[in-house]
Amino acid sequence: MEFLFYIIRRVLWSVVVLLGLSVTIFFIARVIPGDPARIALGPTATQEQVINLRREMGLDLPLPVQYVRYLSRLVQGDLGQSLLTQRSVNRDIAGAFPATFELVLTTIFLVVVIGIPNGVLAARFKDSWLDNVNRLTSLIGVVTPSFFLALLLQLLAGYVLRILPTSGRLPAGTDFTADITGLITIDALLKGNWLVYFQGLRHLLLPALALSATGIGQIARITRSSMIDVSRRDYIEAARAFGIPDMVTTFKYMLKPSFIPTLTLLGLTFASLLGNAFVVEMVFSWPGMASYGVRTILQKDFNAVIGVVMVIGAFFVVVNVIVDVLVGYVDPRVRLRGGNA
């Protein structure tokens, strides 16, 4: 029961955060100089046309009124019309989001399956050569700019070794539409199309690797340090004294409590991961939110910009709710105390 209240409280707080985000981005986008109506119509439009469009778009109303109108559409899930593509922002984002989502999911997968075991090994063999190699690779992962790593991987695997494709989600001319979930690999599996599945994976690998380097390093380090913290506890000492096998102690008794800082960090690094996804997508011509976002941002397409920022913010907030619920599940103290959201 407490756990349910904890989740409800956490979700309500996320709604407040998203409201705050919508206010912030709305006012930033509107206060800034430049007339959206003039930009939409181009330099050849007459003053009269501009005034008409301003009235049509509600730009002549006071800002708070504009915000309330915007918000009332937003809560119905309507992000408005894109001035650039003349289509609804919802449609544009729905077209671009799955590609980003697939990339980010794959990245998280890599971060977890590479970062956590590395951290566990580094903690288990603390101060050995393994730990030092791990420390060095983590550091390199953290300090290498994503776009630089993306270019390096592209150069190495795509041009020098010629083993992996370097752009797009599928080979040009592939006759396949991901119309079930929008994720190519998942849809290919659902349709039983193995060839497309493997093609999709091959295309995902390089961008996901470039994007995951930072996360792998950070997760490995935090897993290592929290494992070492836990290993000094009395109950681990007791387990050792009882002669419980080392493997069981490490994986059953040490890993679970060590998971909590790791999970929290995973949620927090998600923000920089989403940002870096923009850069990596540009390098690999990945048809996701980045190309749409950068294009609309440069064109001052306000509804689209607000839409992109809101969708990315919501994505981040949802992931962090999931992380907090998982933390509450793993750590009963958090859900009983209520956790300070």
Binding site: V16, V17, L18, G20, L21, T24, I25, I28, A29, I32, P33, G34, L139, V142, V143, T144, P145, S146, F147, F148, L151, L152, Q154, L155, Y159, V160, L268, A271, S272, L274, G275, N276, F278, V279, M282, V283, G293, V294, I297, L298, K300, V305, V308, V309, I312, G313, F316, V317, N320
Partner: protein, 306 residues
């Protein structure tokens, strides 16, 4: 009145008693210098940072072709691979890549100074206020920082910069707008745990003003953590600035910006690799330096910076 503390020793004071005259310890800076010099990561970091700063300060003197930093065209020498004359090769209009990298460090450090100079003091003061004042002020400030935490910095910086029009100064403003909240959270946490300490009560009892307690008692005790965090931040500011200009939203050509240089050179991969790889490596070296130095300082002061 409690003793006035020297900045370098802030991490340790609450427990140290004045040593007897005969066994007096060495001065704080000597002890700190000794511990610093025994920490390999701090020393390597300091050397790299120093190298970057020297490159930036003396770029006009060190650079073999200082005139190549700005708009300069020499088509006969375009796409030259690395050689004795051009250590890092030349770019697609014949400019010396090494010279441009050296000048590029000026832009990166300028960005760091501007962003951290604006956002750190702002964030620190807000953190002090929120932590000490409590009540509605704490609620408002901390909830706002939570909202800013929910925004991927690069995406928001993109939105702000582009809305203002993509220039270097706007990129600086945009990153500053996003950076303060980390310092607010850091200082807030420290102040919350410090304000119940006895020496603060003592100050209040003898009638010290609120400002005195905030800026003369609490602030000095936050400085080591803020210094460590600021050093680590410098690397990330360079990273986010380079990412912005890599996307074409930041310093515009012909400004010798490292991110822009990588982006320009990327079009000539894989054959003219030097045009993008050397500026990329230069960014990496700067970030690595600040990171190692920050980690080293963290060990030295023994502080948690989140």
């Amino acid at each position: 009145m409690h003793e006035k503390r020297d900045f370098m020793s802030v991490a340790r004071p609450p427990l140290t008693l004045p040593a007897p005259e005969a066994t007096r310890e060495r001065p704080a800076w000597q002890r700190n210098w000794y511990r610093f010099s025994r920490n390999p990561s701090a020393v390597i970091g300091a050397v790299l940072v120093l190298l970057v700063v020297i490159c930036a300060l003396f770029a006009p003197v060190i650079a073999p072709f200082p005139e190549h930093a700005d708009a300069f065209v020499d088509f006969r020498n375009r796409h030259q691979p690395p050689s004795a004359a051009h250590w890092f090769g030349t770019d697609n209009v014949g400019r010396d890549v090494l010279s441009r990298v050296l000048f590029g460090y000026r832009i990166s450090l300028l960005l760091v100074l501007f962003v951290l100079g604006l956002s750190v003091p702002f964030g620190v003061v807000l953190g002090l206020l929120a932590g000490y004042a409590g009540g509605w002020l704490e609620l408002v400030i901390m909830r706002i920082t939570d909202i800013f935490l929910a925004i991927p910095p690069l995406v928001m910086a993109l939105a702000i910069t582009a809305a203002l029009s993509p220039t270097l100064i706007n990129a600086m403003i945009a990153i500053s707008v996003l950076w303060w909240n980390w310092h607010t959270r850091l200082v807030y946490g420290i102040v919350r745990s410090l304000k119940t300490e006895e020496y603060i009560d003592a100050c209040r009892v003898i009638g010290a003003s609120r400002w005195h307690i905030l800026f003369r008692e609490l602030l000095p005790n936050c400085m080591s953590a803020v210094l460590v965090k600021t050093t680590l931040d410098a690397g990330f500011v360079i990273l986010i600035g380079a990412s912005l200009s890599f996307l074409g939203i930041g310093a515009q050509p012909p400004t010798p910006d490292l991110g822009t240089m990588v982006a320009d050179g990327a079009g000539y991969l894989p054959d003219m690799w030097w045009q993008s790889m050397f500026p990329g490596l230069a960014i990496l070296v700067a970030i690595l330096g600040f990171n190692l130095l920050g980690d080293g300082l963290r060990d030295l002061y023994d502080v948690e910076v989140g």
